[in-house]
């Protein structure tokens, strides 16, 4: 017997709720001044487990796409063509780079890498257009958000060098 994706999802939610309940049971349900920190999460996690079990039992499996619902049909991974799947995988790679880059590489390198992966490799845009767009996005981010709006951005060697350049030019 195979388990449908819908049931795997419900099972995943059940496991997540069970893990939350396991964590919550370590906390007290009642203290000298009223309800303890564990009461509320224990009740909610138990309800979530029960609901997930019901969804697991009642969900009939993956529904067939509705004829008029084209958007939904193509947004489904299992119904997408090889090209769309390849694009999807490259976007997942871009997301992995987004996480790793924000940890180690800083904003400029990360945004350049994410734009190159998504535009050049996933969408097949020319190198020239990709590099120009990547540079515009990275610079707009640094100047508009980092400099003008004073938003905190991940910092790496390229960001520090750019800031030094601005300082050298008397702009900072």
């Amino acid at each position: 017997m195979t388990i449908s994706g819908a049931r795997w999802t419900a099972l995943g939610l059940f496991c997540a709720a069970a893990a939350a309940l396991w964590q919550a049971t370590k906390l007290s349900r009642w203290g000298f001044d009223g309800p303890g920190p564990g009461l509320y999460p224990q009740v909610i996690a138990t309800i979530c487990m029960a609901l997930a079990l019901l969804v697991l039992a009642l969900d009939k499996g993956d529904p067939a796409p509705v004829a008029t619902d084209d958007d939904e049909a193509v947004a489904r991974y299992d119904m997408a063509g090889p090209q769309e799947r390849r694009t999807f995988h490259l976007y997942l790679l871009a997301l992995a780079v987004l996480v790793a880059g924000s940890w180690f590489a800083g904003f400029i390198v990360t945004s350049l890498a994410v734009t190159i992966i998504s535009m050049r490799f996933a969408e097949g845009v020319s190198w020239r257009a990709t590099l120009i767009t990547a540079a515009v996005i990275a610079l707009s981010g640094v100047i508009l958000f980092g400099w003008l709006l004073q938003v905190s951005l991940p910092e790496g060697p390229a960001d520090l060098a750019f800031r030094a350049l601005l300082r050298h030019g008397g702009l900072l």
Binding site: L13, D62, A75, V114
Partner: protein, 508 residues
């Protein structure tokens, strides 16, 4: 009246006026772009408002919310593509009018109807809010808890997919809200030993992950198609309806305004339900119901008005009770809380400039939208030419900026990506993610109310059914939760499919 005049004084400050304009402009753009909804946009911009003055931040985010209703109309009329879910009904008759060469009249009726309804809606908000706030002031923790529970149940009841799944998402939203330090005892909860989670899961990584990143993943699996756009009129006169069209619009606009506002007040009701109800009412009242779906003016004017007054109505429970009516107002509530402001019955006394500033900005914003939408429709349609290849890296970069800037922590970026992938899977299997955000935002206030009530009653659950008000809300909750276990009998019609299509691209 004095408060409202003070609000106008706040809005007419140049910086605030600029943020109001940015909000309504972005709202219109977002309404036009299929794939980017108000939820995604507000989620993306939320962290960027951290350093802004609270009044300007809320005015800008609110502008996005009510501006979307205008923008969505343009693609519905000219392309038969709802830019957002509340414009689905507009596709039916608006597009047919456009096909018959009345695109300008359709856009004109929609814009004028939206302006009238939006403005009347705001007037109603200004007059209803003070007495409602005074009434809510008398609520104890048990009443508050039951109001929120009934509100959440209503939202799950009106969810377009499986109600059981909607209930499950509400549960998970509440559960996610408990991660981090206990609000009363400061004990770490559900952190699984991860130090970063001691501070809780922030709204930004959760909302940006569930809506921004999951939307990008969903977008890339769709085929790239060139969209067909009917030509809008080239002059302002082309937007004017003829005498007959104007006469037939008056009644639907008036009815749509009242109906939309009332539905907007109900948690879970919102603009989408308001438009469908208005369409049904107009069809029922019409002497020519056979014209509906073939370009009936009433089928366009009523829902468009209901859409905008419904958006205004949703502000009443948010501002007066601190209870959001839908996921978007939940994000606005999150924005209030991030800035250290608790919307609710006391906001009018404690921060009148904020309360009345937001209300006044809605009057001003509606005028801006009317001015923006008619002459610039041709320009807005050009936005649809932006290909996905350019849109996706911009969204991902804004996601990175929005998430990282919350706490200057790369861990938040990891959380957002995780929520993005989980969100994509959940959407794929028919789970409504808007409910997760609503429950997450409500969770903190709900838990505090529940625990305070239980502490007062020394653990006696009877406190939740101890007054006529709590009993009423308990009955509403019980009935709605009970109905979640009853399978829907009605077969899905074309409207359901259209809503589903819009929701897949928009996640309302």
């Amino acid at each position: 009246m004095e408060g409202l005049l003070g609000g106008f004084a706040t809005v007419f400050q140049p910086a605030t006026l600029m943020y109001c304009f940015i909000g309504v402009f972005l709202g219109t753009v977002v309404g036009i772009l299929p794939g980017l909804g108000p939820l995604t946009t507000i989620a993306l911009l939320l962290p960027i408002t951290y350093k802004m003055d609270v009044t300007s931040a809320i005015i800008m985010l609110s502008g996005i919310y009510y501006g979307v209703a205008y923008g969505g109309t343009i693609t519905s009329v000219l392309m038969r593509i709802p830019g957002e879910a509340s414009s689905v009904v507009t596709c039916l008759d608006g597009y047919e009018m456009a096909r018959k060469g009345r695109a300008g009249a359709a856009l004109g009726i929609a814009a004028i109807g939206s302006f009238v309804a939006g403005t009347i809606g705001v007037v109603a908000v200004s007059y209803l809010s003070p007495p409602l706030s005074r009434w809510v002031l008398a609520f104890g923790p048990a009443e508050y808890a039951m109001v929120m529970l009934a509100g959440l149940s209503l939202v799950t009841y009106f969810s377009s997919g499986s109600r059981l799944k909607a209930l499950l998402m509400a549960g998970f939203g509440l559960l996610l809200g408990t991660v981090g330090s206990d609000p009363l005892a400061a004990t770490p909860r559900l952190t699984f030993g991860v130090f970063h989670l001691t501070g809780g899961i922030d709204l930004a990584p959760l909302a940006i992950g569930l809506f921004g990143i999951s939307e990008v993943l969903s977008m890339v699996l769709r085929k790239k198609e060139k969209m067909q756009v009917l030509a809008p009129p080239s002059s302002l006169l082309g937007f004017m309806p003829n005498r007959e069209e104007a006469r037939r619009s008056v009644g639907p606009v008036a009815r749509g305004t009242v109906l939309g506002f009332i539905v907007g007040l109900i948690p879970g009701g919102g603009a989408v339900l308001a438009t469908f109800l208005s369409y049904a009412v107009e069809k029922k009242l019409s002497k020519h119901p056979e014209q509906f779906g073939k370009g009936a003016v009433e089928g366009l004017a009523g829902p468009e008005s209901a859409n905008n007054s419904g958006t205004a109505g949703a502000f009443v429970p948010l501002l007066c009770m601190g209870v959001p009516a839908n996921a978007i107002t939940a994000l606005l509530l999150g924005a209030f809380m991030i800035h250290g402001v608790a919307p609710g019955p006391t906001i009018m006394e404690r921060q009148p400039e904020l309360f009345w500033g937001v209300i006044a900005s809605m009057y001003v914003g509606n005028v801006m939208l009317l001015i923006l939408n008619l002459p610039l429709v041709g320009l807005f349609v050009k936005i649809l030419d932006v290909p996905r290849a350019w849109l996706a890296p911009i969204i991902l970069t804004v996601c990175l900026i929005g998430v990282y800037s919350t706490n200057s922590a790369a861990m938040d970026v990891l959380l957002a990506v995780m929520f993005g992938v989980i969100g994509y899977i959940l959407r794929r299997y028919g789970y409504d993610l808007g409910i997760v955000i609503l429950a997450y935002v409500l969770g903190v206030i709900f838990e505090r109310s529940v625990r305070q009530a239980l502490a007062i009653s020394d653990g006696d659950l009877g406190i939740f059914v101890s007054s006529p008000l709590t009993i009423t809300f308990a009955v509403i909750t019980a009935v709605l939760v009970g109905l979640a276990f009853v399978p829907r009998k009605r077969a899905p019609g074309p409207a359901d499919a259209a809503i589903a299509a819009a929701e897949v691209s928009q996640v309302k």
